[in-house]
């Protein structure tokens, strides 16, 4: 997985503004870290190693440069865990509606 081929769906990374060069209005905790960027697209090079600088063709058709950090990056979102704090709300509300509990 550390090597990608031309046409692979990949993600690139760039530092846009280094720490210390941030806009003057940002709070200290933000000023002390860089402004970073990630973009996905199709790899232009025949072959490239993760960690090297590459060109991608984005979904808008633009050619963008950056450090290759992932091939076919996974979607990070899911439904998490069912929440005990929410699970009983339905039954509680129905009991109130049915008049079994005075609110």
């Amino acid at each position: 997985m550390s090597q990608a081929q031309k046409g692979d769906w990949v993600q690139i990374y760039q530092i846009i503004l280094p720490a210390g060069k941030r806009a003057p209005q940002v709070p200290a905790e933000t000023a002390s870290v860089p402004l970073e960027m990630w973009v996905k697209g199709f790899l232009e090079e025949e072959q490239a190693q993760v960690g090297t600088d590459v060109t991608i063709c984005s979904l808008a058709g633009r050619l963008l440069r950056g450090r290759l950090i992932a091939k076919n990056p996974h979607y990070e979102v899911n439904y998490g865990f069912p929440q005990p704090e929410l699970l009983t709300i339905g039954a509680e509300l129905k009991a109130i509606l049915e008049g079994n509990i005075d609110e």
């Binding site: 941030r22 806009a23 970073e36 808008a60 990070e76 979102v77 998490g80 865990f81 704090e85 509606l97």
Partner: protein, 471 residues
Amino acid sequence: MSNTSYQAVIARKPEIIRKATNIDYAAFESGGIGFDYERMMSQVAYSLDKIHQIQKETGVGNTPLLELKNITALARQLAGPGKGARIFIKDEACNPSGSFKARRASVSVYHAKQHGYKGVVAATSGNFGAAIASQAAMRGLKSIIVQEVYDSRGIGQPEILEKTRACEAYGAEVIQLTVGPELFYQFLLVLEQTGYFNASLYTPFSICGIETLGTEIAEQVLAATGRKPDAVVVTHAGGGNVTGTARGLQRAGCDNTQIIAASVDLKGLHMASDIDFNRKSFTTGHTGFGMPFATSPDRADVPRNAARPLRYMDRYVTITQGEVFYVTEMLAVLEGLERGPAGNTSLTAAFALAQHMGRDEVIVVQETEYTGAGKHPSPQLTFAKKNGIEVRRGNPLENVPGKAIIIPECPGQINIKDIKLDSVRQSYLRNALGSIDIRVLRPQDIEFLAAETRLEAASVERKVSEIQAGR
């Protein structure tokens, strides 16, 4: 090749924005504090008939108005005798991209296409990105969405990560950034490099697209109940939702309908803070946007913001994150509608407000939004707990933004907090005056400030003098 440094690009902002919006904002300036808002809206935006046509072409609008009978019954059980307004909800999740933002995007993308732009760019971490990408796909334009997604640990807000996925699903290039207002620098750079249209949330195109939401509510409520809505509750962030909906209601003759803005209370969390960023569960519809955009609307990505919420809100209320999660669950289990959660901010407020209105009255929640992986109470609370936020059942009064999310123990604990509009107006005036000497204010500036704050001219003059004296 022009200089692409931060300072150089920011310095070119006026020129970049002018090319990318195709609006001559200077034509509406009066040379002082004020500008001719209504003339800008009437000359730049489209007519209501034209907007209907544009939106019909891409399947936007005409969403169902649903009566929440079980939630109304519950509110009536909690309310005093004779109290408990009928609660209706406008199911905006039925729009092509799953939120009312399709209305805002539809006119912008139409306009971009008409004027020969090859693509559209929007700076948004919310539903608007998906709406722009969806509308652009329908009209054959390219789209680029610039999002604030991660903190410096590379940890992303689940709701925003879902929006990244949605935008890419509609064919948009998504530029994901870490926290910080310099997102605007990247946005300007993209506009300059591509020559694409600035599909800003704050142009007259975006705001006029929402007016149909107001007119539809007026028509549908009248058809369902034989009366005009007594109150419409609007989730408030950048101000466009309040402005567009209220303008639509006014166009439909709902002059006595109360416009109630509602935001989630995130007081104390800094919106540009790398640390606070992932300590909130709501990425929009909160006071972190709601207050600054009400008191300083021209902080937007265009010279003059077409969203002027203070002109339209009759009341501004807040509720807590935990209350919105509770009501999101209520909507799913009592009404069979899995929506939100952020869009349920206004529903949460409406549930409390309805209990103080008569049974014959009608209160309308003017939006729902789609739900999905990441954008749902369970992933958001899972994320909150992982980030050290306390989540428990209890009294919402114990809520502390960024520290504790309190899920109510019972529906009677859901309550609104009123924000004093007088203080908001005072802040607005202070911001509008900036550091200028009030002796340079002309009658048209006073008139503008009066329209902005809905105060009498004499009252504005008095407040302005007080501010000057207090400096």
